[in-house]
């Protein structure tokens, strides 16, 4: 049987298989022979060869100091606890006991800690160590003294665990000037692409001055070269290629830490007071600037945050808390990046425009009725207050009469409509004046472009362009209604609004012009922009590109660069008109000026002037404004001058006189020394640069300052990344 099978047709088919198998085996043998004996280009043996690995020594960032040389952002030495895996692995229990003890000390679990120190690989998911296997892994930054002591006193319990000192930016004043200074983050791949000198070990400014002056503050990284064995362990520290790190330059700012403190305190207190009176008072801002130089002295925003939280990587929980819907957006710098309806504070611009274009005259008086119908819509004064007699511009500004300004701006509108009907271009004086005061254009302060609001106003062209872009959306919304809106009044309002926008959204109406006259409608400005406009009123019409930075001082204490605000333009309004407006709003006029209410009886009442604003926002409580200046002085020509312009704003806090007024009074008391010494010497902005002592050379420190990647790190900016890059081959 066996023989029969062996010669059968089935067996013959096996021949194919035999040939296939034999050819495979012969191919392999041939290839092996070639690779091992014949190949003329044999690859070179690499094993056993040492190669260089470079450890980047990150440069300490430069300091940021205030106008009197006081430190706002410093560098601190931080104790970082590191674990050497190689040492642990060599222990009989592979470090289990050490990890257990360390976990107890750091209040974490041994399992998590063990994961954090395991180098990442395709088989090891996060949390894991993103650095080189030969580096000690940082497991805790900013180690508390208790932990540091426990580790150093009982070295025998913690083999392979070490404390290293690293420098990190620090904010010694906590939240002070947080929005101006900004926070830092870890370098991302995108950063490295944009700026090739950056390495993973560096810290990069992410917002505020930290971002704007990053190249100045960054310094120059040093490096330490080590020899690595093929397995990646350090064979020797080679001093040959070592380059020490150079700390970044110091940035001197025009911020005055005391004024900043005062502004923030006063803002926080006003919010508390307004809340005690039953207002929502969700947020607010204060800007203090020098109207004569364009330098910003203080800028406060509420709510705020602590930039220290971002040092060494912000945790997901902390970042989540900062960005939660109920947190009130503490990262937003409302003073500079927020834009709000300015309300009656805008009347500076309206009055300037009307007088400059001869639409009203300074010698005449005009009616201030309780209400006025424009285009069939009744517009009222605040609380429908009416004056039986005609008012001069001076009184209209002082009492803040709205109807006074409606009539001439509506008239300007109709005149423009007549021009359009006649085939001419509209003049749009009000809009042009607003633009010259800087509305609708970023103030160009020395902060990142996305941290400064441009403000806005409506005109015919933008109205039409927007309508064309959004028409379909408006009409769809009007058709659909707002079924998701729970409040029936809101639902009806929004539906009606959408319907109107759908058909007539392109139309710019007389009422729009009147709204703009009193800083309502689509008119918005940031507190900083308002401060710039009022500065122009007091400095002869110059609109500054304001600055926070004042000078850059290098490590030797030498000023390498002075930063000066530039004049962007001069408003086309005569000095006499600006003077008239400023004089109209002097608090010495007492009850005739609404902004003066909080200051009646103050010893410095006559030194201050200001315009209140009470901006109505649909569905919210009023925004309270005060744009003010002081202390007043007059030059030989009789032109009024002020050392400071102070703008305050509290959202949802009521009228300007009741919230922003008392808030700024506390700031003036501090600036002018009422009830105590002035917080700023001479009650005037600092005029000379502070002396900056030469830097003490920080010794280069060859270690990784980053904590191991935690699974919960949220923000790419905040993601701790590897600190070291190996040199040549693997």
């Amino acid at each position: 049987v066996a023989n029969g099978r062996r010669n059968g047709p089935g067996a013959r088919r096996l021949t194919i298989v035999v040939v296939l198998v034999a050819s495979m085996m012969l191919t392999l043998a041939g290839r092996l022979y070639y690779v091992q004996l014949l190949d003329p280009n044999k690859p070179v043996q690499t094993a056993g060869r040492l190669h260089d690995g470079t450890i980047v020594v990150p440069a300490p960032r430069g300091q940021i100091v205030d106008a009197r040389g006081r430190v706002l952002v410093a560098n601190t030495s931080m104790q970082v606890l590191t674990v050497n895996r190689e040492t642990l692995q060599a222990l009989p229990d592979q470090g289990t006991a050490v990890i257990g003890r360390l976990a107890t000390l750091l209040r974490t679990t041994p399992a998590l800690l063990a994961k954090e120190i395991t180098p990442c690989s395709p088989r090891v998911p996060a949390p894991c160590w993103t650095g080189q296997p030969y580096q000690p892994v940082p497991v805790a930054t900013n180690t508390s003294t208790a932990v540091a002591l426990a580790v150093s006193e009982h070295r025998e319990h913690f083999p392979g665990v070490a404390l290293q000192t690293v420098t990190q930016p620090s904010y010694p004043n906590g939240t002070l000037a947080a929005h101006l200074l900004g926070y830092t983050g870890e370098v991302t791949a995108a950063d490295k692409k944009a700026t090739p000198v950056l390495t993973d070990a560096d810290t990069i400014g992410r917002s505020g001055l930290q971002a704007q002056y990053d190249t100045v503050l960054r310094g120059t990284d040093g490096k330490q070269v080590v020899q690595l064995t093929p397995q990646g362990t350090v064979a020797a520290d080679t001093a040959g290629g070592n380059v020490p790190a150079v700390q970044g330059d110091t940035l001197v700012t025009s911020i005055d830490a005391d004024v900043q403190k005062l502004a923030e305190m006063s803002l926080a207190r006003q919010i508390a007071d307004s809340r005690a009176k039953g207002k929502l008072a969700t947020s607010g801002a204060v800007v203090v600037m020098d109207p004569n130089t364009g330098r910003v002295i203080a800028s406060a925003s509420y709510p705020t945050y602590n930039p220290q939280e971002f040092i060494g990587g912000i945790s997901k929980a902390d970042y989540g808390a900062l960005t939660a819907p109920g947190a009130g957006d503490p990262l937003l710098s409302r003073a500079i990046a927020g834009q709000y309806a300015p309300g009656s504070t805008f009347k500076l611009i309206t009055a300037s425009s009307l007088v400059a274009h001869n639409e009203i005259s300074l010698g005449s008086s005009y009616a201030c009725p309780g209400s006025l119908a424009i285009d069939g819509r009744v517009k009222t004064n605040y609380d429908s207050e009416s004056f039986g007699r005609p008012l001069s511009l001076q009184d209209a500004l002082g009492y803040s009469c709205d109807t006074f300004f409606y009539a001439p701006t509506a008239a300007e509108y109709y005149a423009d409509q007549a021009r359009i009907a006649a085939g001419q271009k509209p003049t749009e004086y009000l809009q042009k004046t607003a633009a010259s005061f800087g509305v609708g254009r970023a103030p160009n302060i020395d902060l990142p472009a996305d941290e400064q609001a441009a403000g806005s106003y409506a005109d015919r062209e933008t109205r039409r362009a927007r309508w064309l872009a959004n028409k379909a959306q408006y009409c769809a919304a009007a058709k659909r209604g707002f079924p998701d809106e729970p409040n029936p009044a809101q639902r009806a309002y929004r539906t009606a609004l959408a319907a109107e926008n759908c058909t007539d959204g392109w139309r710019y109406r007389a009422g729009d012009n009147a709204d703009m006259a009193i800083g309502q409608g689509e008119t918005t400005m940031s507190p900083l922009q308002l401060a710039l406009a009022y500065s122009a009123m007091l400095n002869g019409g110059r609109i500054f590109a304001p600055t926070l930075g004042w000078a850059v001082v290098d490590g030797a204490g030498k000023v390498v660069r002075t930063i000066k605000p530039t004049v962007r333009n001069t408003v086309p309004v005569q000095r006499s008109v600006l003077n008239y407006i400023a004089d109209s709003l002097q608090f010495s006029r007492g009850w005739a000026v609404s902004g003066a209410f909080a200051y009646i009886g103050s010893p410095v009442q006559s030194l201050i002037g200001g315009k209140t604003g009470t901006a109505e926002v649909f569905g919210r409580q009023d925004t309270s404004w005060l744009a003010s200046w002081g202390p007043l002085s007059r030059d030989a020509k009789g032109d009024p001058h002020a050392k400071f312009v102070v703008v305050g704003m509290v959202e949802q806090a009521g009228t300007g006189a009741t919230a922003a007024g008392p808030m700024l009074k506390r700031i003036y008391d501090g600036l002018l020394g009422v009830g105590g010494p002035a917080v700023i010497p001479g009650s005037r902005p600092e005029t000379s640069l502070p002396k900056i002592a030469p830097q003490v050379r920080v010794m280069s420190r060859p270690a990784a300052p980053r904590p191991a990647a935690r699974g919960d790190a949220p923000h790419p900016d905040a993601m701790p990344t590897r600190a070291v890059r190996a040199g040549a081959s693997r």
Partner: protein, 392 residues
């Protein structure tokens, strides 16, 4: 004496334990068993050489992987002995079960499996043990196809090729596990599965138009897979690093480059056991599994590599002898196993030598890995069972 011993045709017929040794040993191909054993023991030494320095550096037991490899070998030997005692005629009964159980394993992997090196191919058993069902599927498919063709051609002339329906049924048997493995995605196992199935088809005597047609289909599907993005990125990377090895010396081509350095510097006699610098330095990734041949190449040189290839040749020769003597089902099983082992060895050694693209495949009997070792033990056992049946 038990009843079981008296009737060798009864299901689960085990030979009496008191049967003289000479009779119990009858029918075994001792040369085949010896070859497989020698390969496995060489494997143990190579795995040991590949891992001892690394384990020592990590503070572990340098012989850890050696012991585990030997432990796997012992289990595989037991499996071989047990399977070799089966009556090969019972394949008809067990074939479908083996096939279905293997298939269920593959399905289980897609549900509860874990991912290693990019392929979702493993089932964690706890205690650090993992099972890779695709290894057992190779055997399951061979047995399943063999039984199918044997059953369908029962009573037909041996010369007559299988009918179109037979071939289509066989294709269905192939397609299901092949698709599941491609989904993992484990290209290497899929290729081996296809090679084994192809061997069975040839041995079953299907018409040339089928075999040629299938080859063309395979080429077309492969082209479409590469062009159409059916392959995972890492697989494409491996292929492109194979065609352009200089392009990326740190990524996918790193393995090939390092293995090439190790083997090329082995020369005629090698550096000697435990003296390979490339191996001791831990330069070749996955050296105890997919790149175990590079240890042989470096430390035993051309002689060592040739001995390994020679041993595979002997293994295939003995298995084909068994195939030639076997009945229809047994022959198909034997040819399938030969094609599996031969192709896998070719593919693995080929990628070590830069001849074939990288696919994650162990070198049969030699590489460290429980699942593959067990499956190969079962295969050798099955070959013995076929031989014992034929020589009775």
């Amino acid at each position: 004496m038990t009843l079981l011993a008296r009737d060798p045709r009864a299901p689960f017929a085990l030979t009496s334990p008191v049967m003289p040794l000479e009779r119990r040993a009858r029918g075994y191909d001792w040369l085949l068993i010896g070859t497989a054993l020698v390969l496995s023991l060489i494997g143990a030494v190579l795995v040991w050489a590949a891992t001892r320095d690394l384990l020592r550096a990590q503070g572990g037991n340098p012989e850890g992987f050696l012991y585990r490899h030997l432990f796997n070998l012992a289990i595989a030997a037991v499996l071989m002995v047990v399977v070799s005692r089966f009556d090969a005629r019972l394949l008809r009964l067990f074939g479908p079960i083996v096939y279905i159980v293997s298939l269920l394993g593959l399905v289980a992997v897609s549900v509860v499996g874990s991912t290693v090196n990019g392929a979702h191919a493993w089932i964690r058993l706890g205690g650090g043990f993992q099972l890779q069902p695709s290894e057992f599927m190779k055997l399951g498919l061979i047995v399943g196809m063999a039984v199918l063709f044997a059953q369908r051609s029962a009573g037909r002339d041996d010369d007559e090729p299988p009918s179109t329906l037979d071939v289509l049924m066989a294709m269905a048997l192939i397609a299901v596990p092949l698709a599941l493995i491609m989904l993992q995605p484990d290209l290497g196992s899929a290729m081996v599965l296809a090679a084994a199935a192809f061997g069975v088809l040839i041995a079953a005597g299907v018409r040339a138009r089928w075999t040629i047609g299938l080859l063309i289909l395979t080429v077309v599907v492969a082209v479409l897979a590469v062009k159409g993005g059916l392959l995972a990125d890492y697989q494409l990377e491996r292929f492109s690093s194979f065609t352009h090895p200089g392009q990326d010396t740190q990524g996918a081509a790193y393995n090939v480059t390092q293995a090439h350095i190790a083997i090329a510097n082995g020369g005629l006699f090698g550096t000697g056991l435990f003296d390979g610098p490339q191996t001791n330095g831990g330069f070749v990734p996955e050296q105890r599994t997919d790149f175990v041949f590079s240890v042989a190449g470096e430390e035993f040189g051309l002689v060592g590599g040739a001995v390994l290839i020679g041993l595979y040749a002997v293994l295939c020769w003995r298995s084909l002898r068994i195939a030639a003597d076997a009945d229809r089902a047994g022959r198909l099983v034997a040819v399938g196993i030969v094609c599996w082992i031969a192709f896998q060895a070719f593919q693995n050694i080929g990628m070590n030598l830069g001849l074939t693209p990288i696919t994650g495949l162990p070198l049969p009997f030699v590489s460290y890995g429980g699942s593959s070792m067990f499956a190969q033990g079962l295969a050798i056992g099955l070959l013995q069972a076929v031989r014992r049946r034929a020589s009775r």
